[in-house]
């Protein structure tokens, strides 16, 4: 059993929980995820790791309520325990493979949408701790839906945008990207995009236009998360890969997003449907 130590509401229907999971905390790296199961009847739900504290033995996750399982997760309170909390799963971010000296010379841009912000945080924080500066664009529909802005501002240069202009730049993340590059003359040579699939698709098209190598973190439907079932398969550059073991981060210019979005909706209309069964709610918009 994995005990919930803290819980806070970050925005309407978006909760952050800190969970006691010493083994996961010890091995977690930025970019990885965990699989959580609330109870005996629960699904195995993948959630990206948003932070970890090796000393305290805790891992932080952020969940947005979008269906039955995320609702069950968010209904849990400090003192309650998850039946299962397995991880860390997937490959760590590619940034960790780049030699530090080279990394320091790079201009790295993160693009976060919706609750995709929290999963960007461990990567930005890791870079910060290793003396690497980075920029983070955070997009939301309106000012009330932002999460992790304070945390992020402590470790990166943050640029906010909203669809309705209620805070920051008025427009989509793609427009803000163009603005930074074209108006402010910023140059980026590595981009990581995390957010809803549709946002990642268009943001990746945009970085392609600007010629910036780009990674996206896919929130595919999963069951085991260990490479055993193939539920999470995705086409990347014409090859079928498993998100849970080959990813979750892939070359954003090679991913077949239309197929990925279609596969996310595999169980729409199913008797047990809860719109998010197949979705890492951490990324939902």
């Amino acid at each position: 059993m994995f005990k919930i130590l803290d819980k806070r509401e970050l925005a309407p229907k978006i909760y952050e929980m800190t969970v006691e999971a010493p083994r996961v905390a010890k091995s977690a790296q930025p970019g990885q995820f965990i699989i959580v199961r609330t109870d005996e009847e629960g699904e195995r739900i993948p959630l990206t790791i948003c932070d970890y504290d090796r000393e305290r033995g805790t891992v932080t996750i952020v969940t947005q309520i979008v269906g039955i399982s995320s609702n069950k997760i968010c209904a849990m309170e400090p003192g309650d325990s998850f039946a299962d909390f397995a991880g860390p799963l997937g490959r760590p971010s590619d940034l960790l493979d780049i030699p530090l000296e080279e990394l320091k010379k790079k201009n790295i841009l993160f693009v976060a949408g919706g609750v995709g912000t929290a999963p960007v945080y461990p990567q930005a924080k890791w870079l910060h701790e290793h003396g690497v500066r980075c920029d983070v664009i955070i997009g939301a529909r309106n000012k009330d839906l932002f999460t992790y802005v304070d945390e992020m501002s402590r470790v990166a240069d943050v640029h906010l945008c909203t669809d309705d202009g209620s805070t920051g730049f008025h427009g989509l993340v793609t427009a803000l990207m163009d603005h930074l590059i074209e108006n402010d003359g910023r140059r980026f040579d590595h981009c990581v995009i995390i957010g809803p699939m549709i946002m990642m698709k268009f943001a990746a098209m945009n970085t392609k236009k600007h010629g910036i190598p780009t990674m996206v973190s896919l929130n595919a439907l999963m069951v085991d998360g260990t490479g055993m079932c193939g539920a999470c398969r995705v086409s990347v550059g014409g090859k079928t890969l498993f998100t849970c073991v080959d990813g979750p981060e892939f070359d954003g210019h090679q991913v077949d997003f239309d197929e990925a979005m279609r596969r996310q909706n595999m169980y729409r209309g199913n008797k047990k449907t809860n719109p998010e069964t197949h979705k890492c709610s951490c990324h939902g918009s």
Binding site: R23, V24, K26, S27, R37, E41, G42, E43, R44, I68, S69, K72, A83, D84, F85, A86, G87, P88, L89, V223, D224, T226, G227, M228, C229, G230, A231, R233, S235, T240, V245, E259, R262, R263, N265, M266, Y267, N270, K271, K272, T273, N274, T277
Partner: protein
């Protein structure tokens, strides 16, 4: 005289009824039936059944004890060679092992060795309190076992009996490996059988930690260096599903058998109280002819679908247990033999609408000795369906290899180990499907036990 008694029939759930539920198909023998069947055995001086058993189980010995009314004695004899009789009695391919060689089978029908083994195993579970093992005193040495399938459970029990402090690390949330995520309830009851076998392993003092994915949560080197395990047994199975590589395989409605079965068995998707969904197909085509294919197609049938098997060879080559094929037919599964899929077809929404197949005929024997299926020209046709399940075999997951330096694997990704389970890294042992590729429960169990002996030898001689 004894030969005159016909093989005792076994009672089964009615096919029409069972095709709509997940309860066990076969009821097994009761005491009288078991005694009667046991009386058929000739107690051969040079028993052919024993030679044909992968673990050399003393078959006439246990049957004789049973015949004499000493079920506990029978259980003790089996325990010398097998730690999972209730499971093996249900899932071993007896027709190509013990029963296939039984001398009675030459003129009449072989002794129902599997059903008798199951009877004894189930009796032992029901009387587990009386059959409690005597434990050896703890010897202070620690061994880690990776994976809780038959190989891991068998290895752990033997080591615990020798006094080792054993801990099993399992990636999933449930213990049992393929026995809980792959083989369905209607063939192998999870609570009544698998969970009880696991309880018995725990009673020996074996600790089991779930949710530990070795290679991610912790590496083998960390287990040995940081947590003080002197030896490690890898029984991680062969869980990686294969796909055909034909067009349309990523359409909505195409699944690996592993996914379909995991949703049904491990996640209990067929039960409305569980949250995990399962694809609600009306016409389901399963590609393949092994036990996995039979389990998937019969699960599909029980989910209310019209269900088909598509297999590229002929019925004689079906690798599944004969009993499963027989049961599948009784349940109304349609078999399309000598048929090979070439593409999965879909609509504009990306949902499966059918599977395009070609007809095959058998040509010259291939390297496996079976006649090679060759395509009949211009025989393409479409089988309409909304779901396709690929049951084409599996291979070992590369995670442990990738995270353990010096651990060799072969071309197929199987861990290289000798007969005793010794890998290319001292102190690291392996067995079961992780070494052989997808095989059988009995072989995995046997490999786990051999490795336990080798680990004992390794640690004792350090």
């Amino acid at each position: 005289m004894a030969v005159k008694i016909p093989r005792t029939p076994v009672r089964e759930q009615d096919p029409q009824v069972r095709a709509t539920n997940f309860e066990e198909v076969c009821y097994g023998y009761n005491a009288e039936e078991a005694a009667l069947e046991a009386s058929r055995c000739l107690n051969c001086p040079r028993p052919r059944c024993v030679q044909a058993c992968p673990v050399g189980l003393n078959i006439p010995g246990f049957i004789k004890a049973l015949h004499e009314g000493d079920t506990a004695g029978a259980a003790a004899i089996i325990a010398q060679d097998s730690s999972l009789p209730s499971v093996c009695g249900r899932v071993c391919p007896q027709e190509s092992q013990c029963e296939g060689s039984c001398v009675l089978g030459i003129k009449s029908e072989p002794v129902a060795i599997g059903k008798l083994e199951r009877y004894v195993g189930d009796w032992k579970i029901a009387h587990s309190a009386e059959c409690a093992d005597t434990l050896a005193p703890r010897n202070g040495h620690k061994v880690a076992v990776i994976g809780s399938g038959p190989s891991g459970l068998a290895c752990a029990s033997d080591l615990a009996r020798l006094g080792y402090e054993v801990k099993i690390f399992e990636a999933l949330h449930k213990v049992g490996g393929v026995l809980v995520y792959g083989i369905p309830e209607f063939r192998l009851p999870k609570e009544a059988i698998v969970a009880r076998e696991v309880d018995n392993v725990r009673k020996l003092g074996v600790e089991i930690e779930t949710d530990v994915v070795v290679g991610r949560t912790i590496t083998i080197d960390q287990l040995m260096d940081d947590e003080g395990y002197e030896a490690v047994f890898i029984g991680s199975g062969a869980g990686l599903p294969r796909f055909m590589g034909i067009p349309g395989e990523n359409l909505n409605g195409v699944f690996s058998a592993n996914e379909y079965l995991t949703r049904a068995n491990l996640m209990k998707a067929y039960d409305k109280d569980y949250d995990t969904p399962i694809y609600e197909g009306k016409r389901i085509v399963v590609v393949g002819g092994g036990n996995v294919a039979m389990d998937a197609v019969r699960t599909a049938k029980r989910m209310g679908a019209e269900a088909f098997i598509v297999y590229r060879r002929s019925e004689a080559e079906l690798p599944a247990r004969v009993e499963e094929v027989h049961h599948a037919k009784q349940e109304g599964i349609e078999f399309r033999m000598l048929t090979n899929p070439v593409a999965v077809l879909g609509d504009e929404q990306g949902k499966v609408t059918g599977i395009e197949c070609v007809r095959m005929e058998l040509g010259e024997p291939d390297e496996s000795g079976r006649r090679r299926p060759v395509e009949i020209p211009d025989s393409k046709y479409t089988l309409e369906c909304d779901t396709v399940i690929m049951a084409l075999g599996t291979s070992p997951n590369p995670l442990i290899k990738h995270t353990t330096a010096g651990l060799d694997t072969n071309r197929k990704g199987c861990i290289v180990a000798d007969e005793q389970g010794r890998t290319t890294r001292p102190g690291i042992f392996a067995g079961g499907d992780a070494v052989t590729g997808a095989a059988t429960v009995i072989l995995a169990m046997g490999a786990g036990r051999k490795a336990a002996a080798a680990i004992h030898e390794y640690i004792s001689s350090k």
